[in-house]
């Protein structure tokens, strides 16, 4: 929906940030490693050197893409929700409950039910900060961050008590029936069908945002709330809807991670997927296709960190440096464009 020149500008800006972040990683490697070339090659080439590693990249990318989409939707409506992590826990918890405690159903009915439960759980938990924002003007950054704790600790409490598995000491639910776990799709790798769900979600979110009237309303509310109100768009309703859609996607991310990798709901299993999604959405400038690319790239760096740890004397934390630099640069860039726009606007007004 933008002119091609602007897209080129924006993409090249993000590429610059990515390259700079990688260069920073190189500098650290060259300053500290005794075998820098081996480390760099292990970081960048090894992830692609085997089908097994590619499969791992895909698996790691799945929840990142889904949470990235979750945050893109809500950011596009101008709501700065930080709540994907909490919505992910509540959604996947409900999904896992449905998976474990509704046995005996045909997988064709059971699996959709599980996914639906996760979507609804995430959406309802998202509705809370949405309603607070829309009708009481409560700052969504504060409410969502606080509600994350509620979600994490609440689910943690349940899997330590009422819903704790009987075997073993881990705080987790009973294992989910193998019939409804996601199948492996590439032989010889661990890659599961979650990537197909993620791809489908990218398409659905793209269509939703850019091809439907609700997507139009959502974007208009985000771009200029005054304009939306003047045009008769029910801005409050749209805010609640966008946070709910975001919550549903976060819940989906959680349940796909469980059905694909974890095999059941474990305490603290996400470890920040909802926050990684913020970075993905920022990198992608809230565009679904960008989310796909950014999610894959981010997963690639994470796998590279592991292969580097095995293949050289560098610890995996170097990848964290690269990730942090990326966040810093991309955010700075976003702020920079914002300032530039503001400046251009006042310039335009100032001298006619």
């Amino acid at each position: 929906m933008k002119s091609s020149r602007m897209v080129v500008l924006e993409v090249s800006g993000i590429l610059m940030a990515v390259i700079t972040a990688l260069l920073c990683g190189f500098v650290v490697i060259f300053l500290t490693s005794s075998e820098p070339f081996a480390a760099v090659s292990a970081l960048f080439l090894d992830p692609l050197s085997s089908w097994f590693n590619v499969g791992t990249i895909l698996n790691k990318a799945v929840p990142l893409i889904l949470t990235g989409l979750a945050l893109s939707v809500v950011f596009q409506s101008g709501v700065f929700s930080m709540g994907a992590e909490g919505q992910l826990y509540i959604g996947s918890f409900l999904g896992a409950l449905t998976a474990v405690y509704l046995p005996g159903l045909s997988p064709w009915i059971h699996l959709p039910l599980v996914v639906l439960a996760a979507l609804i759980g995430g959406a309802l938990f998202g509705a809370i900060p949405g309603l607070l924002k829309a009708y009481l003007n409560a700052n969504e950054i504060v409410t969502t961050l606080m509600l994350n704790f509620v979600a994490i600790l609440l689910t943690s409490y349940f899997v330590n008590n009422q819903f704790k598995s009987h075997g073993g000491g881990y705080a987790k639910m009973e294992n989910i029936d193998k019939n409804i776990l996601l199948a492996k799709i590439i032989p010889g790798t661990s890659a599961h069908a979650g990537i197909l769900i993620a791809l489908a979600a990218v398409v659905v979110v793209y269509l939703l945002l850019y091809k439907t009237s609700i997507g139009y309303e959502l974007r208009m509310v985000g771009k200029n709330g005054h304009f939306a109100r003047y045009g008769g768009i029910a801005t409050r309703k749209i805010i609640v809807i966008s946070v709910m859609i975001s919550g549903a996607l976060a819940g989906l991310a959680g349940i796909v991670e469980i059905l694909g990798i974890q095999q059941t709901f474990k305490q603290n299993f996400s470890a920040g997927l909802g926050f990684d999604g913020i970075i993905i959405a920022l990198l992608a400038r809230n565009h679904p296709v960008g989310v796909l690319v950014a999610g894959l790239f981010y997963a690639y760096i994470q796998v590279g960190a592991q292969t580097m740890q095995y293949g050289s004397d560098m610890p995996r934390e170097v990848a964290v440096i690269i990730q942090v630099m990326l966040v810093l640069l991309v955010t700075a860039q976003a702020i920079f464009t914002f300032i530039k726009q503001r400046y251009a606007k006042t310039e335009q007004k100032a001298v006619k």
Partner: protein, 514 residues
């Protein structure tokens, strides 16, 4: 008078290929008031940026006091005795007036000039104020003083830095008529003290009133330099636009039919909770234009917002084609063919970071005609946007351009196109041509009258009395949230007459207003 500044054959081509100045000559004599006029995008701003050292010219020479100069930044320009007063004030609101005036050039004292010399500061600033008669309260914080005084502070700031040549950029855009008069007195005082003024504006009446000479820019070129006493508004505007401009809107007498909008005893509060509308009643009929005149802030904004559903009323009725509008949502009112050109196109009227197409379909995206199944029909939207852009003369490469990249006039045409595209039965036009160039004003006025002749009821709210008088068939004057006069716009109605009502000096009997 000797020549103070001579800019010759200035060219400026930006790296992206836009030629903003294509041969501009500007000669300013010492001690004159020189008006620089031109439509948006004519190159006024670029020329002033070059003069001030903010941009380097691609070609051309600048001579100041007989010496060729080339500034590398505004600092050089200030040192040479130039000063610029921007349209948007650059003041620190939490500092006092006098602190703002000396900011960055504070008198110092003590070892290593460590301390501010407050006594000297006051002495100097007070002397300045006394010399030019620019009355301001030096102790007051800038955030507490009115707009007109803020502008005086800006001028004092420039004078404090020793400016002899003062550039005023659209100085009257934010002022009330009274403040404008005071500003013009100050300008005269500056000139009599030996200063030279460059006055950038698009208000031709002010040009005629204050300037000695006028340079007209059009499409990056200087078209003419005129003696003000030898010219008139028609000639200047013809030079600016490049063709004849109709100052009087050509219109046939109105043929009012049935009542479309009937407002009765309407009361509403402003954002602070004080009563902004104190029982307003009027009718607008199909085929007539009712103008709302008044000094800004007398309830116009609240009146428009209440009718369009953006603000709740406290009491009264608004009947539109026999149906009560109060309590209806904005969306419902818009669907009932009520068009609303809002007073601020930058915040309410358009989404600047969205495309022109997205801005145009605000009323249509739910319309089945614009959909294919559950999805928006992009071909249809594109086609619609292109048709609209052509019909309303929106000048942009295509419909995918960001609305924020459009000039004020073109953006306003997008707003007007959208509001007229649903064939409104009632059109509320609030400040329809504010900050828009002459060509676009003429176009928008013509479109409004076309709708009236097509049977729409039209309400025009404008801070420009001349606009209200040009468009309206009847004029209601708002003062302090009340309609103090309801006048037929006959040829013998004068601006002075309306002015008395606007200032609250005269008031009609309640019966006449009803």
């Amino acid at each position: 008078m000797p020549i103070l500044l001579e800019m010759k054959d200035i060219h400026k081509v930006y790296p992206n290929g836009t030629a903003a100045n294509k041969g501009v000559d500007l000669t300013v004599h010492e001690g004159e008031i020189h008006a620089l006029v031109g439509e948006n995008g004519a190159g006024k701003s670029t020329l002033m940026k070059i003069l001030f050292g903010l941009e380097a010219p691609t070609n051309g020479t600048i001579e100041y006091k007989g010496q060729p100069i080339r500034f590398s930044g505004p600092k050089d320009a200030i040192q040479q005795g130039m000063g610029m007063v921007h349209q948007h004030f650059m003041l620190s609101p939490s500092l006092s007036v006098s602190e703002n005036i000396v900011l960055g050039n504070e008198p110092k004292k003590g070892p290593f000039s460590m301390f501010r010399d407050r006594a000297k500061e006051y002495r100097e600033v007070e002397h300045l104020v006394a010399t030019y008669g620019l009355k301001v309260n030096l102790q007051a914080k800038v955030e507490t003083i009115p707009v007109g005084q803020k502008q005086r502070v800006e001028i004092l700031k420039v004078l404090y830095r020793g400016a002899k040549l003062i550039i005023l950029d659209e100085p009257t855009a934010v002022l009330t008529p009274q403040e404008t008069d005071e500003l013009f007195d100050s300008i005269q005082a500056l000139v009599s003290e030996g200063h030279t003024i460059i006055f950038i504006t698009h208000k031709l009446r002010e040009v005629m009133r204050i300037s000695n000479r006028i340079t007209v820019l059009r499409a990056g070129k200087s078209i003419a330099t005129l003696q003000t006493k030898d010219t008139n508004q028609e000639e200047i505007s013809r030079l600016m636009v490049g063709r004849e401009v109709l100052f009087r809107v050509n219109k046939i007498p109105a043929d009012p039919k049935e009542v479309v909008l009937s407002v009765r005893d309407l009361e509403a509060l402003d954002d602070k909770g004080t009563k902004a509308l104190q029982g307003i009643s009027f009718d607008i009929r199909s085929g007539e234009v009712l103008g709302i005149a008044g000094v800004e802030g007398n309830g116009q904004t609240e009146l428009v917002e209440t009718i369009t559903g953006l603000r709740k009323a406290v009491a009264g009725n608004i009947l539109y084609q026999g149906k009560e509008l109060l309590g209806a949502s904005v969306a419902e009112i818009r669907r009932m063919k009520v068009g609303h050109i809002p007073e601020d196109r930058q915040t309410s009227g358009a989404s600047l970071t969205s495309t022109i197409a997205d801005n145009l379909i605000l009323d249509h995206y739910r319309n089945p005609e614009f959909k294919r199944g559950i999805f928006l029909n992009h071909n249809k939207i594109k086609q619609f946007a292109q048709t609209m852009m052509q019909a309303y003369d929106v000048r942009a490469q295509n419909e995918e351009i960001m609305a924020g990249a459009l000039s004020g006039g073109n953006l306003q045409k997008v707003v007007v196109a959208r509001e007229l595209s649903k064939n409104p039965k009632l059109l509320i036009a609030s400040q329809p041509t504010r900050g828009v160039d002459i060509g676009a004003i003429e176009f928008i006025h013509r479109e409004i009258i076309k709708r009236r002749d097509g049977g729409a009821a039209v309400m025009v709210v404008s801070a420009e009395l001349s606009e209200v008088m040009a468009l309206s068939d009847r004029i209601a004057v708002l003062y302090n949230g009340e309609i103090v006069a309801l006048l037929d716009n006959t040829p013998d109605l004068t601006e002075q007459e309306i002015g008395y009502y606007m200032l609250g000096i005269k008031k009609q009997e309640q019966e006449a207003v009803r």
